[in-house]
Every structure is written in structure tokens, then in C-alpha cells.
């Protein structure tokens, strides 16, 4: 139905002069019809709603420009096709069936539909389809009118989404109007305060304020009116059951679309748990602080780079500071105040300090440190132990160090060692004079031939020797204990030592005969005097513990990697249960009768330690009543 510009308008017709009235009537009718048609046409073409017309089968015959704009399809692309072209794919066939059935029955169909544009975008329309009838009443066409409500729908979706977020948030969220009347209330608020939505909407918000905080409301509202928010405000609120809650609230003004403040929204979080935990934490920290500050040991905590995080009072004091704060301010100062030395009192590199070793990657480290206060000259000893603390990724998170002041202990040890050293020296001095005088007497009486006197003097000399040995043993024991037994190692002939020692002991052993068996020339590396001491001890014991027996046998056996010397006696023997213990310090064998054997019980201890220092072994084989054989082995070293 095209219009041509040549068709006259009603105005024009009215202006034509001399028109016969019947022609004028016809022309006017046409012109009016044309104008009305033109109006309808303009309406359809210029409306913002999409309009399309289909035939009875649904094939599109006409679409208006709004349709083209909305769907992205040009009229040539859609004319001759069905609306399937804009199907979104979101609806079941059944829906379309319902649509058809409705419109075919002559009723208009109205609904909100989602369709798809040419570029794939989805859009919402408020859709109405009506059947067009001819004069006979038969349906000839369908006309569909769409109102694009995409924006509205999107806004609606957004609103719904936000509402869900608010409703199901873990924080209590509610809003009130400018006068404080509660307008909305989410699930969390119901849970926190105990009021249901229906109970509280419409009530004033100060129902939630404890009695002594009612004026908080005024303060909050003043802030709102100024357009300012109140953020993370810690306060008390009251539940429905009157129980008080510690909460943190954030309140913001709510504005309408014109920007006017119409109310406020509140978010509240119950922080009673948090506050409780904070209090617990504070109390634990205080307790820990108390414990740490009263500890005698110094404790320091450093970060992996060595920066000091914490030091207790004891640590600060040891380092020469008056307080932990002073230490924190100047953590490296103590290095200038002290000279740091190792356990031998030799200057020590700071990188050997245990905490520095942990910083370099070690798991744990310990060192005995000697340090001297440069100003006062005071010398102290400490055992410093450092360990690392790891985080979840097994990386060093902290370096923890414990400093144990052992000054008193060390000095006591040193005084003890010194004492024993001095004591043995002091004891030997009068013994020396005693011995000399005894021997002078011996010489004098030898000239006169006084047998009895000589015999007694000989006994005195023997006892002085016993005393000398006891003093020597005491000193040896103390040296062994403090790890200071020094060996003078060299190559020597073991067989020679054996022979000489046997000779010496035999001199004073009247009742026994010491027999040597299988003694072959053998060079060994060690302390000659100490090995002789061991052999002397074994021979002396053999004689002592076999009174009335006549023989003691010394033999030697050489294997591939060691030489074994044995001393055998036929005396009282040793019970199996004693056999290991006899090598212990001060262990003495007691008999049932009141027979005790003289001696301090140190000989075997010292001998076993000497042999051990030579990397050898010492052991015994014995049957009680039948005697004992003591063995010691020395390794044969391949040194030439």
C-alpha cells in the first residue's frame, strides 16, 4: 500500500474552487482516508515499540523500524521467515504451542518473553499477539507488539540478586527510614537479635539499644543527616531476650534517586566472640610475658634475617642492657661491649654464634661461649642454644635462642680441676721428703746390719709407694673425668714394656712367680708409660687377688689388626654379675667374709680408659673361685 505524494490532502481539496459537491465529497473521503492511513502508518513506523505482522501461518509479512532496531535484523532478512529467527532457545516447544492455541482461538496472548538479537544478545520484551480478522470474522493475520523491557528486567535481576545477597549475608543487615523505623531486616539480623522480620519491621530501631545507650541513636542519625557514615563502631546492643551483645556496626545514609537522604542502612557484626578471644589472647600473652621475664635463662627470638623480635629481661641483662626496650633500640651495641671467645678462651668469629648458624640454614646449633665485659673485665660463661621454627612451607620463620649462664658451674669445675692438680702436687711434696728420709735411714742401718730395722724401713718405703700410687690414681681419675688425660704417643716395643714391667713387679712379689708366654717383638704406637701403667695395674691386681697361689701368666697374641695382652691369675675370680662393673669408677669387690681388698677401686677404671683412648678394648674372663684372665688389645696401625 504505497502512497504517492500526488494524493491531495483534505486541506487541499477544500481549497479547490468550483468542485461539484458530489465529486468534492468523494475527494474529501479519499483525502481523509489517506490522512488517517498516513497517520496510522506514521504511528507504526515511528513508535518505539516493535511491531510485526504475520500471516495465518506465522510467516512475517511486515516489520516496523523499531523491530529492525531492536533485533538487529533488517526487514529483508525477516520478511518471509517466521519469528523462530529470534528464538532465544530458552523455551520448551510446549510454550509455543500454548501461544498458538491462544491466538488461534482469537484471544490475545500476553507475556514477557526473552528473545535473541541477530548478534546473539538476549533481550526481554513485554509481548502481546493479537489475531486480525477480516470483515467476515476470519483470522487473516496476527499482529505482535513488543515493548523492550530489557533494561527493566536487568535492573530487576540486579535488584533481586542484591536482595539475595543481603538476605543471606552472614552479617545482620537492616535499614530504617529517616525517623528510625525499621524497614527491612535480613536473616542474619533475625538470628543475631532474635526478632523475626514481621516482629520488627515497623518498630523503632532503639528497641535494639540497651537502656544506657539510647542517645547513641541521636548521634547516629545526626551523622546520617550530614551524609556521613559511621564505620566499625564498637558498641553494645540488646537482643530480644535482653541479652547484651558486643557488636561492630557500620551505618550509611540511604538516598533516593534525587539524592535526598531517606534513611540509613546498618551492618552489624557480633564481635563478642572476637572480643573474648582477644581478651584470652591478651591474658595468655601477659602470662607468657610473666613467665619469660622471670626466667633465669635468657631467651631471644629473631626473624630469619637476624632482626631481633623479642628478648626477655634475662637476655637483655646478660647482654649488658638495662631493659629489653634498650636492647630493641640498639640491638648490635652489645657486640662492642664484650669480647666473645670460644670454650678454649680463644677469640671467636661471630659467624660461629649458634643463632647466626641457624640464619645460614642449620636446624639447630649449640656452643659454650666465654665472654668478657670490656669495661669491667668480668668474665662469664654461657651455653647458647639456637633452634629454628618453621612456617607451613617448612621455611625458617623464627630463630629462637636460649642462653644458659653456666659461669658458676664452669668456674667450679675449673676450681675443682685446679684443686686436684694442686692437691696432688702438694701431697707429693711431703711424700717426697718422707721417702728420702726413709731411704736415708735404710742406708744408715744397712751399714750397721740391723736386719729388723731394715725390714721395717723396707715396709715403710713400700707404703710410701702405695700412697704415691693412690695420689697418682686420684689425679688420673680427675683428669679422665674432665677429659684432660693427655697421652704422649710414640712408637715403642710392647714386648720391652712387658718385660720391664714384669721385672719391676716381680721384685716386690715374693710369693708369686710371673711367667711370660709368647712375648714376641712388636712395635706399637701409643703412650709407653700409660701402657706400662695398665700392665702394672693388672699384674698388681693378679697378685693381690690370688693370695696363696703361686703363678701369674702374662701372654701376648698377635692377630691381623691388633695385639692382645693377657694377665692370668688363679685367685678368687669374679662373679659374672660383677664382670662388667669392675671397670667402673670406685667399684670394689666385696667378699662375704670381712675380707676386703685394699685399694680405692680406681685402677681398672683408669686402665680401661687408657686402653679406650688408644682405641683398644679391655675385658675379663673369669669363673668365681678359679681365677681371672684380664685382656687388653691395642690396634696395629699401618703407619710406618
Amino acid at each position: 500500500m504505497e502512497t504517492t505524494k500526488s494524493m491531495p490532502t483534505v486541506k487541499m481539496v477544500k481549497k479547490i474552487p468550483g468542485l461539484p459537491s458530489n465529486i468534492k465529497k468523494i475527494l474529501l473521503f479519499h483525502a481523509k482516508t489517506q490522512e488517517t492511513f498516513r497517520l496510522y502508518k506514521r504511528a507504526v513506523e515511528q513508535t518505539d515499540d516493535s511491531i510485526f505482522i504475520t500471516d495465518i501461518k506465522g510467516v512475517i509479512e511486515f516489520v516496523n523500524p523499531a523491530f529492525e532496531r531492536l533485533t538487529g535484523f533488517s526487514k529483508n532478512e525477516v520478511i518471509g521467515k517466521t519469528p523462530r529467527i529470534i528464538k532465544s532457545g530458552r523455551y520448551d516447544k510446549k510454550i509455543y504451542q500454548v501461544v498458538w492455541n491462544t491466538i488461534l482461538s482469537g484471544k490475545p496472548y500476553r507475556a514477557v518473553f526473552i528473545n535473541k538479537k541477530k548478534n546473539g544478545e538476549f533481550f526481554y520484551v513485554d509481548h502481546s499477539i493479537t489475531a486480525l480478522r477480516d470483515q467476515k470474522g476470519n483470522i487473516t493475520h496476527f499482529v505482535a507488539v513488543w515493548k523492550d523491557i530489557t533494561d527493566r528486567m536487568k535492573a530487576e535481576e540486579e535488584r533481586r540478586r542484591l536482595a539475595t545477597i543481603v538476605e543471606f549475608s552472614n552479617d545482620a543487615i537492616f535499614s530504617k527510614d529517616i525517623n528510625g523505623i525499621i524497614e527491612s531486616w535480613n536473616k542474619a539480623a533475625e538470628k543475631m537479635y532474635g526478632y523475626t522480620k514481621t516482629e520488627i519491621i515497623g518498630k523503632h530501631v532503639n528497641i535494639l539499644f540497651p537502656r544506657d545507650r539510647k542517645d547513641e541513636f541521636n548521634f547516629i542519625m545526626d551523622q546520617m543527616k550530614k551524609g556521613e557514615s559511621v564505620i566499625h563502631y564498637e558498641t553494645l546492643r540488646q537482643k530480644k531476650d535482653s541479652i547484651l551483645l558486643t557488636v561492630s556496626v557500620s551505618i550509611s545514609p540511604v538516598r533516593n534517586t534525587s539524592g535526598k537522604i531517606i534513611g540509613a542502612s546498618s551492618i552489624a557484626r557480633d564481635i563478642s566472640e572476637k572480643k573474648h578471644i582477644e581478651e584470652e589472647l591478651r591474658r595468655s600473652k601477659q602470662q607468657l610475658e610473666m613467665i619469660l621475664s622471670n626466667l633465669v635463662d635468657g631467651i631471644t627470638v629473631q626473624d630469619p634475617q637476624g632482626g631481633i623480635i623479642y628478648a626477655n629481661q634475662a637476655a637483655a641483662g646478660m647482654a649488658g642492657y638495662n631493659s629489653w626496650n634498650e636492647m630493641l633500640q640498639n640491638p648490635a651495641a652489645w657486640l662492642d661491649w664484650f669480647e666473645i671467645r670460644d670454650e678454649f678462651k680463644k677469640p671467636m668469629s661471630l659467624s660461629d654464634l649458634p643463632n647466626r648458624k641457624i640464619a645460614k640454614g642449620e636446624e639447630s646449633s649449640q656452643k659454650l661461649i666465654n665472654y668478657v665485659n670490656k669495661k669491667t673485665g668480668e668474665e662469664k660463661w654461657s651455653i647458647v642454644k639456637s633452634r629454628r621454627v618453621v612456617d607451613n612451607d617448612n621455611k625458617t620463620a623464627l630463630i629462637v635462642t636460649i642462653i644458659d649462664d653456666v659461669t658458676e658451674r664452669i668456674e667450679l669445675e675449673r676450681r675443682k680441676d685446679e684443686f686436684i692438680s694442686i692437691a696432688s702436687h702438694e701431697l707429693k711434696t711431703p711424700v717426697t721428703s718422707l721417702k728420702v728420709f726413709t731411704q736415708i735411714l735404710e742406708r744408715l742401718f744397712k751399714k750397721n746390719g740391723e736386719e729388723k730395722v731394715l725390714r721395717y724401713l723396707f715396709r715403710m718405703n713400700q707404703q710410701i709407694d702405695v700412697l704415691t700410687n693412690l695420689i697418682g690414681d686420684l689425679l688420673d681419675v680427675s683428669k679422665i673425668q674432665s677429659g684432660k688425660l693427655q697421652l704422649r704417643r710414640d712408637w715403642f716395643f710392647l714386648d720391652q714394656v712387658i718385660k720391664e714391667t714384669v721385672e719391676t713387679i716381680q721384685e716386690s712379689a715374693d710369693a708369686h712367680k710371673i711367667v711370660m708366654k709368647n712375648i714376641r717383638r712388636k712395635k706399637v704406637y701409643g703412650d709407653l708409660d700409660r701402657i706400662a701403667q695398665v700392665l702394672t695395674n693388672l699384674l698388681t691386681n693378679a697378685i693381690k687377688y690370688s693370695p696363696g697361689k703361686k703363678k701369674v701368666i702374662v701372654s701376648q697374641k698377635i692377630t691381623k689388626d691388633k695385639v692382645v695382652v693377657s694377665v692370668k691369675d688363679y685367685g678368687i675370680g669374679i662373679l659374672k654379675s660383677h664382670q662388667r662393673k669392675i671397670f667402673e669408677r670406685f667399684y670394689r669387690v666385696y667378699e662375704d667374709k670381712d675380707k676386703t681388698f685394699p685399694g680405692l677401686g680406681m685402677g681398672l677404671y683408669i686402665s680401661s680408659k687408657i686402653i679406650a683412648r688408644h682405641s683398644g678394648n679391655m675385658w675379663v674372663e673369669s669363673t668365681q673361685g678359679k681365677g681371672a684372665t684380664f685382656y687388653f688389645s691395642l690396634p696395629i696401625t699401618k703407619k710406618s
Binding site: 702436687h425 707429693k428 711434696t429 717426697t432 721417702k435 728420702v436 736415708i440 742406708r443 744408715l444 710410701i464
Partner: protein, 118 residues
């Protein structure tokens, strides 16, 4: 008669040794103090010197070194007597001619004296 100089800080030992050595037929001079010993040695001119290393806090090796440095005294044999076990090494290092550990047998001492006195 051969002369022996004995230096020890213990009067008991000095007395015992003096009697022992005199009985054996030597001339003896005993000293209890380390002070001016080199001077005294130059004056007395002993044939052998017996001395203890630890003389009441004074280190005897100092004297030994002095004696061995001085041209008048360096040829006099010096025998160290000591109760201290590590003294033997110090004695050797200081230049002493021999060492006898205390307490000793008088016979042992005389053997050592006779060994060095010529």
C-alpha cells in the same frame, strides 16, 4: 769434693735432700728462693744444680733458660725435680739436662746425679 746446688720451695725436701746428698759425700748448698739464683750460681760454682719447676708460683723454667743463656753457667748440668706430670716436657723445652719425677727413689736420684756430674 763435688758441689751440688739444690733449689726447692719446700723446706722438708731441702732438708731431706741435703742429708741424703751429704751422706753420699757431696758438698751441698740449698736455696729456698728463686731470686738472684744465677748470681748465686756464679758465686758458688756448683758442679750440678737440682731444682723444682714450680717454686711457689714462680716458673722455674725462667731460671733454667737464664742459666743456659749465661756463659758462666750454661755448662753446669741442670736436673729438674718435679711432682708435676707435665713438667718433663717443660723441662726439656727450657733446656734442662734431665728430669726426675717426685716422689723418687734416692738411688734413682743419685744415678742421675752421677750421670751428669762430670
Amino acid at each position: 769434693m763435688k758441689k751440688i746446688l739444690i733449689l726447692d720451695d719446700d723446706p722438708g725436701i731441702l732438708e731431706a735432700l741435703r742429708i741424703a746428698v751429704e751422706t753420699e759425700g757431696y758438698d751441698v748448698k740449698t736455696e729456698g728462693e728463686p731470686a738472684n739464683l744465677v748470681k748465686k750460681v756464679r758465686i758458688y760454682k756448683p758442679d750440678i744444680i737440682l731444682l723444682d719447676l714450680l717454686l711457689s708460683g714462680f716458673d722455674g723454667t725462667v731460671i733454667v733458660r737464664e742459666l743456659k743463656k749465661n756463659k758462666d753457667t750454661k755448662n753446669i748440668p741442670v736436673v729438674i725435680l718435679s711432682a708435676h706430670p707435665t713438667a718433663k716436657k717443660s723441662a726439656e723445652e727450657a733446656g734442662a739436662d734431665d728430669f726426675v719425677a717426685k716422689p723418687f727413689d734416692v738411688d734413682t736420684l743419685f744415678a742421675v746425679i752421677e750421670k751428669h756430674i762430670d
